[in-house]
Symmetry: C2
Subunit: 199 residues, 2 copies
């Protein structure tokens, strides 16, 4: 007795998803075939649709369905500021704050040598071209404060400052409403080191 | 700035998968679109394929691509024994032991009132019809030893015995090669209660 080929194919295909091993793939396949055939059809269609429609914004590299994304098309935004983030989700998080009026650049990843993601695997060259277009005067590095995000920020900072651009990094510190008692020691130490002097 | 519609659709569609919440769905969608377009196409195709080809075996209810599965078609198997399992994976596990030569019945689920899975949601009626076909003399209940699996076994046992069938349940106890020191107390207690007397 062997697994029917089309079921085995589906299980194998599901394993391309990040974080999905053989057991989850099997569970997902059963669910799709047995419990949610309508959802399965929708999923297949959504994949095909997304592949057909999604492209990268020519300016900021985020996902969009047009040549330029809404933000890059917006004349009201400050064209002198460029905020560099790892992924579109990060861009959406910053947009949700309504505290930033400049433009973005989405790397679509981070430097991560251990995962085989090097300088050529993220959008560094397009970022350089974008940052050196003459309009941009400040680059704000908003990669994550993970090891990889920090390394990426450091690398970008060296690269961009060598070309005469002003470069900044978003601040680390306690969260708004945060209590010292509940902050982790590393964050608290960083909040001390990066203290702002009263003006 | 909003998520492009086709990307949002893909994220929503991925959420039908069991164990996938909004964050994982987003991560999966990015992975499919950004890192593995070939895998994405294969996944869509595999879903459509599986939906088109897979059916349930007319006799044992497992997944197959033909009217009867390999096992039910096999004249060499003992047609008097029927082993009831929850899912096709369980059937495959038992087949891998090569210790069983009877036939199977796959419930495609278990009774689980808390999840809204009641008597009408698993293949109880087809099981009854199958077990009472006149050829089957013993039904072996091999549902899991979880709360739901045990409840399902109990319910089936009552149902089938009332109709004059011999019903058995696979044994609980220590695993082969298992040491008492490492067994959990519940399993060890059960192994004591269900001890086999020497003959």
């Amino acid at each position: 007795m062997s697994t029917p080929p089309s079921l085995q194919n589906l299980i194998n295909a599901l394993k391309v998803l990040p974080g999905v091993g053989p057991k989850s793939a099997q569970r997902m396949a059963f669910h799709l075939v047995q419990r949610d055939p309508a959802g399965a059809v929708q999923l297949a269609q959504a994949i095909i649709d997304a592949q057909g429609r999604l492209q990268h914004c020519k300016l900021c590299n985020t996902f969009c369905e047009t040549e330029l994304c809404d933000i890059c098309q917006d004349e009201q935004r400050h064209h002198g500021q460029l905020c560099v983030v790892e992924m579109p989700t990060d861009l959406w998080s910053i947009e949700a704050t309504r505290a930033y009026e400049g433009l973005y650049f989405v790397l679509m990843g981070r430097l991560s040598p251990l995962d085989g993601i090097g300088v050529d695997d993220i959008a560094l060259k397009p970022l350089l071209a974008r940052a050196l277009d003459g309009e941009v005067s400040e680059v704000i590095l908003a990669t994550n404060f993970t090891t990889e995000g920090e390394a990426t920020a450091y690398y970008l900072s060296e690269l961009l400052r060598a070309r005469g651009l002003r470069v900044s990094r978003i601040a680390r510190g306690l969260p708004v409403g945060g209590e010292l008692e509940h902050a982790d020691p590393a964050t608290l130490a960083q909040a001390l080191i990066e203290r702002r002097h009263s003006e």
